[in-house]
């Protein structure tokens, strides 16, 4: 009998320690599947962020480096410029990328660094216990906006695909969701597109993956998916924001 499904070689055989229902595990897996399918594992260097994304350290079966909060695109720039034949991707969350690392992501994108960014957006700081992120929705509860995010004092959710696609240099900017299998399949295709562009030395690619945080949202895993559909996905429209052939 043919084996039609298995653990990608780019994922270690290890039990997930993400919170129950967290979609980081899905993001880790589809990235690993694409690395396998494009035969990139043995030339990959993954730049880890600060946050729940750091835990990728336990799961991916590739060379990895940890970076300071928000600095992954700068670290990736140093790596890729020195070893342009290697495959370099950053895996960053929304606090990491859109708050403390806003400068690094914008300028790596603006320089058109030939790297790929996987941006996991769950609208909250997960690892530190549920504080407001730049991507937190209006009126959304967080431990630092306990009456809900008030746009008058805290501003509005920052939409990174919309911002980055306004730059000249990026070659591919797209937002996908991981709330259901159909969208996960689309997300994986987007990651593949992004990674292929880097292999072809075309330049900067940015894939945003809409995610959840049942623990800090204070809902069950299933409720978190429904909450995404009813709330986050309405504020963060899915789609390809920029694609340069």
């Amino acid at each position: 009998m043919d084996k039609i499904y298995g653990r990608p070689e780019s994922i270690k055989n290890r039990v997930s320690t993400y919170c129950p229902g967290c979609l980081h595990g899905v993001a880790n897996k589809i990235v690993a599947e694409v690395l396998d399918e494009l035969e990139l594992r043995e030339k990959t260097i993954c730049v880890l962020p600060v946050g729940c994304g750091t835990l990728g350290l336990f799961y991916w079966n590739v060379d990895m480096i940890s970076s300071a909060h928000g600095r992954a695109p700068a670290v990736a720039t140093g790596i890729k410029r020195c070893t342009p034949d290697k495959f370099v991707f950053c895996y960053q969350g929304d606090g990491d990328l859109a708050a403390i690392g806003l400068s690094e992501i914008m300028h790596a994108a603006n320089r058109g660094e030939n790297i790929s960014i996987i941006f996991v957006n769950n609208s909250i700081y997960g690892m530190t216990g549920g504080q407001m992120a730049p991507t937190t929705l209006e009126d959304q509860y967080s431990t630092t906006t306990q009456k809900g995010r008030n746009p008058i004092t805290e501003g509005y959710p920052m939409k990174m695909c919309e911002i980055i696609s306004g730059l000249e240099a990026p070659k591919y900017v797209a937002r996908f969701s991981m709330d259901c299998p159909k969208n996960i399949i689309k997300a994986k295709a987007g990651i593949k597109k992004a990674f292929e562009l880097q292999i072809e030395k075309k330049g900067f690619s940015f894939v945003e993956l809409m995610s959840n945080c049942p623990t800090n949202w204070g809902v069950t895993p299933l409720e978190s998916l429904e909450w995404m559909r009813q709330n986050t996905l309405k504020v963060f429209p899915l789609g390809v924001y920029k694609e340069v052939e």
């Binding site: 350290l57 480096i65 970076s67 700068a74 720039t77 020195c82 400068s103 690094e104």
Partner: protein, 357 residues
């Protein structure tokens, strides 16, 4: 040997190139702009990469990434920029990566003045980032030394897998002197077993500065403490000038030490028994030189710095341990110490006059 007439900052950059530095990232800040400018022009000619970072923070993190690939990598800045780079320097130390950081000092807290000073001794030797790491700090006092120690700094960085700092003031960065340049070396760490280059036919590697549990972090800290302690015995460098019969000892580094030497020559002509201890490594600091002075003879130690308040004097005190009078003399903010000012200060001390320490 052919001599080249070079400006300090450019000589440091050229020395780095010749040490095999193939990656430089930096950000504009006076008085070190000639280093990134020189690198932007010359590095590509050696097959290296120059990136002007969008910030000091980004630049030092680019250096971290480059170092992880086995490249010899460098960045440079001045006090305010080094403050911003502190995060990255700590991560380089925490990740066990080699890198060279050049700090060209200016004068004072905040934006301070852009004029030459030595206001960043404590930043370089005690507080270059969080987490209690240490790094070797070299303080050249001539451009030839700046060249030699820049070259050497890469060797130490690689040996220890730790950042190394070259600390100069704006005088050394801006003035020109004849220098003999070292031969070109294409040194790198590409063959080392910690380099990230894709896990072809081997297990994946990680370069991390994170520990999710206590014991491994403690183990790392213990290992690093041993490394730091090992420097004191074997790597400390110091110059002694006119010290054989000195009763008054000047302690000074970098440009201050050059000025102090001229003052000593004048004072010696007058018969004043004065000498100089010039730390070349500010970390590890040559405590033992101060510990082993003959305190039957040495009555006074005058710490001379282009810093107010004096900073190195804290380390001098630890070596002297109250066995002689210690005072300080300095100008700062970009005011260069005059030879005559040191001469007057030493005369006052020799005559048993007022101390300002």
């Amino acid at each position: 040997m052919k001599k080249h007439f070079m400006k300090g900052c450019e000589a440091i950059a050229e020395a780095a190139l010749r040490a095999g530095c193939t990656f430089f990232a930096g950000y504009p800040i006076t008085p070190q702009n000639e280093i990134p400018e020189y690198m932007s022009k010359e590095l590509p000619r050696y097959g290296g990469v120059f990136v002007q970072g969008e910030s000091e923070v980004a630049s030092v993190n680019m250096v971290l990434g480059a170092a992880a690939t086995g490249a010899r990598a460098m960045t440079s800045s001045s006090g305010p920029g080094i403050s911003l780079k502190s995060e990255g320097i700590s991560y380089i130390a925490g990740s066990r990566l080699p890198a060279v950081i050049v700090s060209v000092m200016r004068g004072g807290p905040g934006l301070g003045s852009i004029m030459p000073a030595q206001q960043d001794y404590l930043q370089a030797t005690k507080a270059s980032g969080h987490g209690g790491f240490r790094m070797m700090v070299f303080a050249p006092s001539t451009i030839q030394e700046a060249v030699d120690y820049t070259h050497k700094a890469f060797d130490y960085a690689d040996r220890d897998r730790n950042p190394v700092m070259i600390l100069v003031d704006g005088c050394l960065g801006a003035m020109m002197e004849p220098v003999i340049l070292p031969e070109y070396h294409d040194n790198c760490n590409k063959q080392e077993d910690w380099v990230l280059d894709g896990c072809r036919q081997r297990e994946p590697r990680t370069v991390l500065s994170v520990s999710l549990t206590g014991e491994p972090q403690e183990q790392f800290n213990i290992e690093m403490a041993k490394l730091y302690e090992s420097w004191a015995g074997k790597d400390t460098e110091v110059e002694l000038y006119e010290m054989d019969d000195a009763e008054i000892v000047l302690a000074a580094y970098g440009t201050s030490a050059r000025i102090a030497k001229t003052a000593i020559d004048t004072l010696r002509d007058e018969g004043v028994k004065v000498g100089l201890v010039r730390p070349i490594t500010l970390y590890p600091f040559p405590y033992e030189v101060f510990e082993n002075l003959d305190y039957k003879r040495v009555k006074h130690v005058l710490d001379v710095e282009m810093s107010i308040p004096a900073q190195m004097v804290d380390d001098v005190r630890l070596g002297v341990l109250r066995r002689a009078e210690i005072s300080t003399f300095g100008r700062s903010g970009g005011v260069i110490i005059g030879v005559d000012e040191i001469v007057c200060e030493v005369r006052r001390i020799a005559e048993g006059g007022a101390f300002n320490g």
